[in-house]
Symmetry: C2
Subunit: 435 residues, 2 copies
């Protein structure tokens, strides 16, 4: 059996032999067996142990155990402690998610620092089956059913084809000691019920149940990749990069069938997990938007606009003096000039005497109006944007130059009549925006 395991690692993971790697070890049976196997195979690795501080003395005893194991097999060990509960409260995630995020971030830092090419973990087939059933019970797509990858460029899972039972047998035969896993994650109750009640019955359905299940997962993984390849091809056509955001024609999106499936597939990459919210946006009023953790999706007439989330500060910037260069929020110079020369959308000439101080630069807000240059009377800014077909995201980025409460310039777009240079003007002030 040990022969079998070792041969498996050598045959299926030959890349581990010439490289140094990191082995994640909790002290539980799976990762301890894996450490022994890799050591028996004369592989070169370091151990990494996380103390999540979730079970007081038990957690500390796990740490001591793994340190002793490292000494016994003569490997370097890296240990760290996490304030997992704080992380849970701060990020509003489950203990399980917190532990995963914390450890994988740390592993990746360690790998870089210590020049460890791969991360090797001890997940086995029963872990995968349990996760499959948990995800199924909650409702999930193919990504929740296809299982963990066996072998990627970074992570290797040499035990994924073995059952828990095989691993226990191996430990007994080789008199390997381990720490019983006392961890108390959110899925502990579910996992125990699945492990002890459901899985044994499933395995009675077919003598090769677990192998067949792994084959099924492999097929799902392949179908998922084929679908993702197709979605990426569609995305290249459909998502037109437009400055800092993507512009997506709603009509083209709606032509995809099954729409629900394509919507879910296309927007899951941006953290939108509820396809229905995206679908609702297709026929919503212009300006309506939804947000994922990292992206916002805005309906803008015949398009959806997709933009990465940024901190959106609607500050007001004060510009007090002439002959200065202001860099924030936009680079603008203010100079006294003798005459009106070269005109462009980025340049504004005004009658200095019409201004009232302070001059400010601010974002626009609902209710704003101005007296567009070249027109009679005033116009609501919202109406101006609509007539000019300015999209929702550009509107948000629009800065206004104001004199006290009056709009002097919809910067880069239109001047205000009230401040224009006339034949009565004595002093001309020039504003210029640098690209």
């Amino acid at each position: 059996m040990q022969e079998y395991f070792n041969t498996h690692i050598e045959k299926s993971f030959p890349e581990l032999k010439p490289s140094k790697f990191l082995l994640a070890c909790s002290g539980g049976i799976d990762s301890v067996v894996l450490a022994h196997l890799c050591n028996n195979a004369n592989l070169d690795f370091e151990l990494a142990h996380c103390n999540f501080q979730l079970r007081g003395k038990e957690s500390d005893a796990d740490e001591v155990f793994v340190k002793e194991l490292a000494k016994k097999i003569n490997k370097k060990i890296n240990v760290t402690s996490f304030k997992t509960v704080d992380y849970v409260n701060l990020n509003k995630v489950s203990v399980q998610v917190a532990a995963r995020e914390l450890r994988y971030t740390w592993f990746s830092t360690l790998q870089e620092k210590n020049n460890l090419k791969y991360l090797v973990t001890a997940h086995h087939a029963d872990d995968d089956l349990e996760t499959f059933i948990i995800n199924l019970s909650r409702g999930t797509g193919i990504d929740g059913l296809k299982g963990m990858p066996y072998n990627t460029d970074v992570i290797k899972r040499p035990l994924l084809k073995f059952s828990q039972e095989q691993i226990i047998d191996f430990a007994h035969v080789n008199t390997i000691e381990w720490r019983e896993d006392q961890s108390n994650t959110d899925t502990k109750y579910l996992r125990n019920k699945i492990r002890h009640q459901i899985v044994p019955l499933l395995k009675e359905l077919h003598p090769s149940f677990l192998d067949n299940f792994l084959n099924s997962q492999q097929y799902l993984e392949q179908t998922a990749t084929i679908a993702d390849n197709a979605l990426n091809t569609i995305k290249k056509d459909l998502f037109q990069l437009n400055g800092s955001h993507y512009k997506i024609a709603i009509e083209s999106l709606k032509a995809l069938n099954p729409l629900k499936g394509y919507i879910h597939g296309l927007f899951k990459f941006y953290g939108f997990t509820e396809w229905q919210n995206v679908a609702d946006l297709l026929d919503a009023m212009s300006g309506k938007e939804i947000r994922s953790k990292t992206y916002r999706l805005v309906k803008d007439r015949d398009y959806l606009l997709l933009e990465i989330l940024k901190e959106n500060k609607d500050e007001v910037f004060t510009v007090l003096k002439e002959d200065i260069f202001v860099d924030n929020p936009i680079p603008i110079t203010i100079t006294n000039v003798e005459e009106v020369a070269e005109c462009s959308l980025n340049t504004l000439y005004i009658d200095k005497e019409t201004l009232k101080y302070p001059l400010t630069i601010r974002k626009w807000k609902n209710g704003d109006y101005f007296y567009p240059f070249g027109m009679h009377g005033k116009k609501k800014l919202a109406k101006f944007f609509k007539d000019e077909k300015i999209d929702v995201l550009s509107k948000e980025k629009q800065w206004l130059l104001c004199s006290e409460n009056q709009i002097v310039w919809v910067i880069g777009k239109r001047a205000d009549n009230r401040f224009r240079v006339t034949n009565k003007t004595k002093h001309i002030l020039k504003f210029e925006v640098k690209e």
Copy 2:
């Protein structure tokens, strides 16, 4: 509850109201409840009952029961009997597959004959879950996990969103009678184990387990469609129609990643279920082939050739006389002529005196050789085909004209030196193949 069911049918299957349809009724609780529901909703339908003759008197009692039900709700009933066991033995399929093939063929005939637009069946969510688990236990791809379609152009399954429990409740409340299903299919043992032992435990994992499971299946169905759409697009490029077969460039096929997944997806449409057999063919010797029930796939140097299976008779046809027109296996005329005129690949002139009778037309076989016109000495036919880069399928279609045991003409390709017209020739015979 009855209200709920009826509203569901009216809302989700409005197409059933104005059309006449066929309702498959075994006499078991599901299809009997469905018949009552459709009757209560004043829908227009006929019943269909299959007697599979698998359980003697019980089967006959089911038939009587369904006939009485039809009388009670005043619907026309169609009944048929199948010799299911004979079908199983003849076609080497399981009882389950036999019953399915037999009934769906019959339903479809009935629909056409009686002008019934839809087939309505009583599958429910627990059926789907059981099938999911059975397929998982055997190892399956996404097609085995995505579940039965809820609503297609032809088949409607109004109960698919309901649990067995809901259906039983409905039957009790409405004092509906039914026949207990005593059927003894191959999966009966598995289904019972799953229904009574596994499913109840699964349902304890989450209060909405069954709904979540149905959602998961819907997601899988969508991903499967996205992948199939992509595969069809790839197929249009990759599968070049070449006469009666498809020609597939192996290099292009190998460029697809994950190859295993694409191979499975592309060739499943042609009945090749074992992707490994197809993969093995990619690097096999030219001429190697594999067959599905309906197609053959042949390796031919840098290509795979995909052809529908036909009966392949290697008959020998005898051509005895001159001045005749033979139509079988290929249209050929044999005439006495005075001179050698217009030459083409479809025409052969020979020295009549060199021939020995009978003249035959036959397929080529290994070991055949001839004396190619314009060359010195003899050449194996296999070598000739190779040098001429004749593909495997064309070779199979190649006819030879033979004089006793000697090849006179590789028809349409090359004449034999031994029968050529020389300055000593007295009588010229002309063979001409009609396109």
